[in-house]
Symmetry: D2
Subunit: 302 residues, 4 copies
């Protein structure tokens, strides 16, 4: 393709440019299916990027089943050979490597291979999932559940996931996309209810829990210290939240020893873990803690 | 010793028997120091086992320092060579093997050896601790703290620990000992505050947390299922509680899926961990949980 | 009636005595309808008082509608002229006077008169309610709601209330009645979560709230002080709980000033009111409070 | 006074104008003591209104005791004859009438008269209090407490209160005063923890509680309905909070009947009252509620 595309065009530029430029810009949005952009070019102008994305998804949804399945077949397996060999599209490479799917330990890679093979054998097309929405452990759980669905259901699910994947890809490509709900947020807030004040200076850490509970292993995502309002910068923000289990660890004992509420030595509470699930990638999760040296409450707040 | 002792005499029998029988019964109470029982025999009768124990501890406390230290020296190292070779008294063997101190992994054994050597070098007698009061991880933490104490403090601490050790040993030997506060208790109670009712049929498990938090490993102690009152049999009872960190895991997600409050799939709460410290071996710990699908509170209750 | 009845017979005596004695004993159970006892006498023996009561209610339920309505018509109005003139049966007199329905202020008496007249005009029989189950304010609320029901519903409701009324009356008359669920219970428990201990010595009071919230007036029912377990004797027990609104007032500020957690002067919390409704007369209500000087939680517990 | 003052000058104007204008502007700040402004005029320029106020208070503090007491004596009694006759300064009239001190019921007026007389008899000057900081009931409580203080303490207290009173009066008079902490704030937030969401559309009302608890009477201050975030506009803001007792009433039953969590009829919770004290007039009070149909928690948050 010799037409030099814009680096990151605006909607106005996309509406005004020639068809080849339009296709060069948006061709990679649907995996191995630049024809979707080609056909969408003829439906211009679009009043919004939402409308443009809707039209592109609509072109795929309108296909007869065989053609739709052919488009599905253009998607690489999650954690499959193409991921490991580095032969996927740039888009899929980015999405899968963020989760480490291109460099799995052998045992986990074999599990993915077995699941991918079972899915293809059952449904006749690869398992498709919006990788930005999942942690690795949650992805495997969902994969196993979906193997039990009907072909009808999976045809619909695959199209839905493609709609999600391509929405992010368009947002990456269009400067003024204006698409809402592309990111989630996780915040916390610690209140010292023995003093009726925000708990200032409390260390806390967010971990991702992988593997099934209660025996899961955890890996640290972010650490923070509460400010004078008992708050921290958002622990997660600016991107979709990955569906999965998380653990917030509040260093309560250390805090109360510093305020003098608890003597040195063992108190009743030391590190308070709060384990919870996120299942809305673009949700606003607020998980506050109210705490005394002997009691605490945690909840999903606003 | 050829005198046949009673299997487990009453206080009246101990007050009435001849000196040799008395000594045969209570000689092993003070480690490698049957003379304490011999001398106590001459102070009979005792109005209570509490008084008998007090008299025996008093005999040791009254010794000049050198003799007291000689008695301390009769105690085996915790997790030391005698524990591993099986050459301790029956009493010490029972107390140390309940914690696995006679069969430690090499790395942990080396840590104990180093601490024991450092303590003996600093204070001139072995480190003495009432093993029934501690979990292994807490024991190590306390050991390290006590290395920083003064000799004066440690002379007093050693005597105090011997008083604790021998109190349990006398209770083991006297049928009608009447000694209070030889055991602690841990109970829980789960209330479903979204329905204003006890949470019935919720699985839960108690784990011991070893190693420093937040990276500690845990091992299961007991599992239970709540009854119609949201309660279970005491999770720990009938013996002193071991000082240390514990984790109660409440299978909240499973419960709310069964009551229909949460659909299948990821809810907000799945397994709720409550991590707390026990530092009163004969305390009454009640750790209830009030819970909805999105919020919970845990506290040290009555 | 010249037959001398037992003071309070056992079931065995009731099964063995002659018909006239049986009727003398149980004749007053159904209001102005001794024939129910007369007919029940012929169905003896009864295996339990539950069976006896069931048979008596069954005899009424089996009546054709006109005869059932005639039996309903034998019941005095609640707070009606017979109540005020003292011309009701001994049973109704006791049930209505416990609520003060025989000595109402004029305005309230007029409201009852209007409701009674409206109910009779609409359904053709008096409004019947098990008075032991209601507070006065709740009784009026229910009365107004039931005026909107259909005649079919009210025929069934009246029979159900008569079954409740007569169950208590039989229990009053038979020594070994063995009937369960004749009483409810209200208890509380106060935990000081700033110290992880029961709140000992906290004053509290239970009030009945009459009139519509939030402008209701209250009258004191019972006062108590928490013991070392943070508990009190049951606040209500030994009789059915009266449906209605209640307020528990916990003297939290006074308690925390005494423990030294709060200086003299205004703290944040002083008297903590917990307002709740009871609608299960034979339920077990536990309403605990967990409290710090700046926070509290109240809930319906077990 | 014939000099036309600025309506509401800036600090720069106050620094630049002639002495007579300055005194005309700020003369009424200290009750019946325009000389304080006259003398302060000579200390110009002031870098800030804070510095100006500090200088004026300093002039009074530097007076010998007799002169200070003479200045105190220029203050009208709270709720005294001058208040009832309308013969106070404009400033005092505004401050006292906002509390209704100029139109008290006779019984309460007599109580004030007695307290005022007792205070004057004991200390030799009138009782002085920053009226903007108090509710009427709290003012009486404080009055009674202060009658027990020493003369030394009351000389200091009177000066402190005058500093508070005049700070507000200066802020009223200077356009760009820049004084912080002239107002407090009361906010709330309701979270439905049975659904893990803000409680939207819940009615609530703030009342002032006057008279001693628990028998106090209440009067409504403001009503509100929670928005989609479970919040409302600040319930109090823009002025100092009046020290005293308040009651927030949350219409919880109505809310849960609408969400379908509770059937019609009596639930467990209907109107939830939260009673608390405010004692920091310029504090930021956040009093959130977390609630299910059977449980709630309230606390002083951030």
């Amino acid at each position: 393709m010799t037409v030099p595309a814009f680096t990151r065009p605006t909607l106005a530029q996309l509406n005004a440019c020639d068809d080849a430029t339009f296709t060069a810009c948006l061709g990679p949005v649907f995996e191995h299916a630049p024809w979707v952009a080609e056909q969408a070019a003829r439906l211009r102008p679009f009043a919004s990027v939402e409308a443009l994305h809707g039209a592109m998804v609509g072109l795929v949804a309108a296909l007869p089943e065989a053609a739709r399945v052919a488009l599905f077949a253009g998607h690489p397996d999650l954690a499959g050979p193409a991921a490991r060999d580095g032969t996927m599209t740039a888009e899929s490479t980015g999405e899968q490597s963020a989760l480490g799917l291109d460099r799995l330990p052998d045992a986990e890679a074999q599990r993915w291979d077995a699941l991918n093979a079972a899915y293809r054998a059952r449904f006749g097309f690869p398992f498709i999932l919006c990788a930005r929405h999942y942690g690795r452990a949650a992805m495997l759980e969902v994969f196993e559940q979906r193997l039990a669905a009907s072909r009808e259901e999976e045809l619909a699910m695959a199209l839905g996931e493609i709609a999600r994947i391509t929405r992010y890809r368009i947002a990456d490509r269009v400067a003024d996309h204006g698409l809402p709900d592309l990111a989630g947020r996780l915040t916390t807030h610690v209140l010292d209810t023995s003093r009726g004040r925000p708990a200032e200076g409390m260390r806390l850490a967010l971990h991702e829990v992988s593997g099934a509970l209660p025996c899961g292993t955890t890996q640290p995502l972010v650490e923070a210290v509460t400010d004078a309002h008992g708050q921290t910068e958002p622990l997660l923000s600016g991107a979709p939240l990955r569906i999965g289990r998380y653990e917030l660890r509040f260093h309560v004992g250390e805090y109360f020893r510093r305020t003098g509420a608890v003597d040195r030595g063992f108190g009743f509470l030391d590190v308070v873990p709060v384990v919870f699930c996120i299942d809305e990638p673009t949700g606003d999760y607020h998980v506050p803690l109210t705490v005394t040296p002997f009691a605490y409450a945690a909840y999903r707040g606003q």
